[in-house]
């Protein structure tokens, strides 16, 4: 495995076998203190038990079988070498490793990688190597080390973010902050590197919320900033709302189907296949090709909430979903996007 040799030659390897660059970072749903406690208890048992003991709400986020369903769209053969950019706790890294030859998981948060390392050990997965690095500063691999598959799952919209992020104390909260770069320039620069690190037949799997997800028009808050309508409004207006409400510019840019296709074409991808995900790309119930009919569409919004109660908001959402997708076939308003970019 020449990619492994390359990593050995370029990065230091710390005690638990994780390669590290000299760039540290932090982006996690957990605070540093919570991560420390959870990692501390890894010594007493396996990773899943530690998670259930300290952060049981994350079990579904990390281990749900639904999360991996999109990988089959890639039509994998089993001999692929892959990179999972922003792999966090391995929600896709582990399922990808079951389907392919080798996976390099990259994330800026060492704590997430340490948890994932323990998880790999527990589950007997031996074809994954982990690297702590800033995704925006990934090196360009030598030509013979370039990979077959790149996974960018729920990551592109966070690329413009800077500094340590403890999501619990950051999401929807007021933090005065300025940024050094423009969101789309940062995202394009990242995608160009992803493109360069693919071999000639390489494929990108990009999953992201649709900027014009129909729910955004119905008063559901933007999942990245926790503000109303910022995703669908013109960027300048969204910026102004974010500055007033959160003290920082609106930088977690998501895109429409058309914009994602343009973004990938602009960053070097020769062909792009688009898919709609219902109810979202994280826990998809159905994934439908954007250029096919909606015959296989199935309603994804239940009239009952998480507590099993029927709510007016949900009834309204279900009716809106039915009219938009069953009757009007309004594909551009699908909740999430999976794009397969071919090099």
């Amino acid at each position: 495995m020449t990619l492994l040799n390359y990593l050995n030659s370029q990065y230091e390897k710390i005690d638990d076998g994780v390669f590290v660059s000299d760039i540290e970072g932090y982006w996690s749903n957990l605070t540093k203190a919570e991560n420390k406690i959870m990692l501390g208890s890894l010594k007493d048992g396996n990773a899943r038990e530690a998670l259930l003991r300290h952060q049981p709400w994350l079990e579904d986020v990390i281990y749900s079988l639904k999360r991996q369903a999109g990988l089959e769209i890639l039509q994998l053969h089993g001999d692929e070498v892959c990179i999972d950019y922003g792999c966090m706790w391995g929600a896709l890294t582990v399922p990808l490793a079951l389907r392919t030859k080798f996976v390099l998981g990259v994330d800026q948060t060492l704590e997430s990688l340490q948890f994932l390392k323990a998880r790999l050990r527990d589950e007997g997965v031996d074809n994954v190597v982990l690297l702590r690095n800033d995704l925006r500063k990934m090196p360009i691999f030598p030509e013979h080390d370039r990979v077959d598959i790149a996974i960018v799952n729920g990551v592109l919209e966070w690329i413009p973010e800077e500094g340590d992020i403890e999501l619990k104390t950051y999401y929807g909260k007021h933090h005065n902050k300025t940024y050094s770069g423009h969101p789309i320039e940062q995202q394009e620069s990242f995608l160009r590197r992803v493109h360069q690190n693919l071999n000639q037949k390489g494929k990108l799997y990009l999953a992201i919320e649709n900027r014009f997800d129909f729910k955004m028009f119905l008063g559901i808050k933007d999942p990245h900033s926790n503000t109303l309508f910022t995703s669908v409004l013109p960027r300048k207006v969204a910026n102004w709302i974010s500055l007033v409400k959160l003290g920082r510019p609106y930088i977690n840019w998501t895109y429409s189907f058309k914009d994602i296709a343009c973004l990938l074409k602009n960053t070097g991808f020769s062909k792009v296949e688009m898919y709609m995900c219902f109810p979202d790309y994280r826990f998809p119930e159905s994934i439908i090709s954007y250029d096919r009919s909606m015959d296989n569409y199935r309603q994804s919004i239940s009239i009952k909430n998480a507590n099993g109660r029927i709510t007016i908001k949900r009834i309204f959402g279900r009716i809106a979903e039915l009219v938009l997708f069953r009757v009007l076939k309004a594909k551009a308003l699908a909740p999430s996007i999976i794009a397969i970019g071919h090099k």
Binding site: L65, E72, Q75, G78, E285, N296, R298
Partner: protein, 246 residues
């Protein structure tokens, strides 16, 4: 060629189901990466092989094939069957002809062993049946087990599932629909249905499911028929007996 996700671990299943198409549907792909999911897919392979032997004997290539298998992952491919899906939504009366066709198909091909047992499909729902020019085609064999249930279990399940959905929609039991169930049970009695089963069909069926939960592994709770109350079970069984006697 495109792959689309049709179902993702729904109703307690640990399997993701995909459609492969190239303008026209070509294949169904099923994927599992857990012990129970893999066991279900292995049952599906055995089920398809068994059904192909008795239903599509002339076909030379297997309908169901393994695409990839390792310790924690199994991916299978099944030929797509074109045709009309069965549908309960308009009630048992509307589906009567299809149901009688399905019972004819079952009676014609389903073997019975000396002790009255038969292969179990385990999810013999109208949704898992396609009708086309070649007749009735059954799919979704994830719960298949050889000689695991009394002969007639699957079609009787199909009848009561239809009755359940009508009851759910109308909030009352319809005598015309119970009459259709009774007529179908009489058709099955002419073949190998045991007297015990025919005398108290719903009670017998629910008791069997209760005592043999292992046959459905993690999914036994997805089936609606056991949700009939004891009172409803008695009423339905008594009405069927009365109709059979008259």
């Amino acid at each position: 060629m495109k792959i689309e996700l049709l179902r993702n671990c729904s109703h307690g299943s640990e399997i993701a189901t995909y459609l492969v198409s190239n303008r026209r549907p070509l294949k169904i792909i099923k994927v599992a990466s857990t012990i129970n999911g893999i066991l279900d897919l292995k049952s599906e392979i055995v089920g398809w092989n068994w059904y192909q032997e008795i239903r599509y004997a002339a076909m030379e290539t297997p309908i169901c094939k393994v695409l990839k298998e390792n310790k924690n992952y199994l991916k299978i491919e099944i030929d797509y069957i074109e045709g009309r899906h069965g549908d309960y939504r308009k009630g048992l009366i509307y589906a009567e002809n299809v149901i009688k066709q399905v019972i004819g198909h079952y009676s014609a091909i389903w073997p019975v062993s000396q002790n009255g047992m038969a292969p179990l499909h385990g999810d013999f729902s109208l949704e898992n049946i396609i009708i086309n020019d070649n007749g009735v085609n059954i799919f979704d064999w994830e719960h298949f087990t050889l000689d695991a249930a009394p002969w007639g279990f699957d079609p009787i399940y199909l009848l009561f599932e239809g009755l359940w959905f009508s009851f759910e929609r109308k909030k009352r039991l319809n005598k015309k629909e119970i009459k259709i169930v009774s007529q179908c049970i009489q058709l099955l009695e002419r073949k190998h249905l045991s007297k015990n089963f025919a005398d108290h069909p719903l009670n017998f069926l629910i008791s069997f499911m209760h005592d043999n939960k292992h046959l459905w592994r993690t999914q036994v709770n997805k089936f609606p028929v056991p949700r009939f109350t004891q009172e409803q079970v008695c009423f339905i069984d008594k009405t069927i007996t009365r109709l059979r006697q008259s």
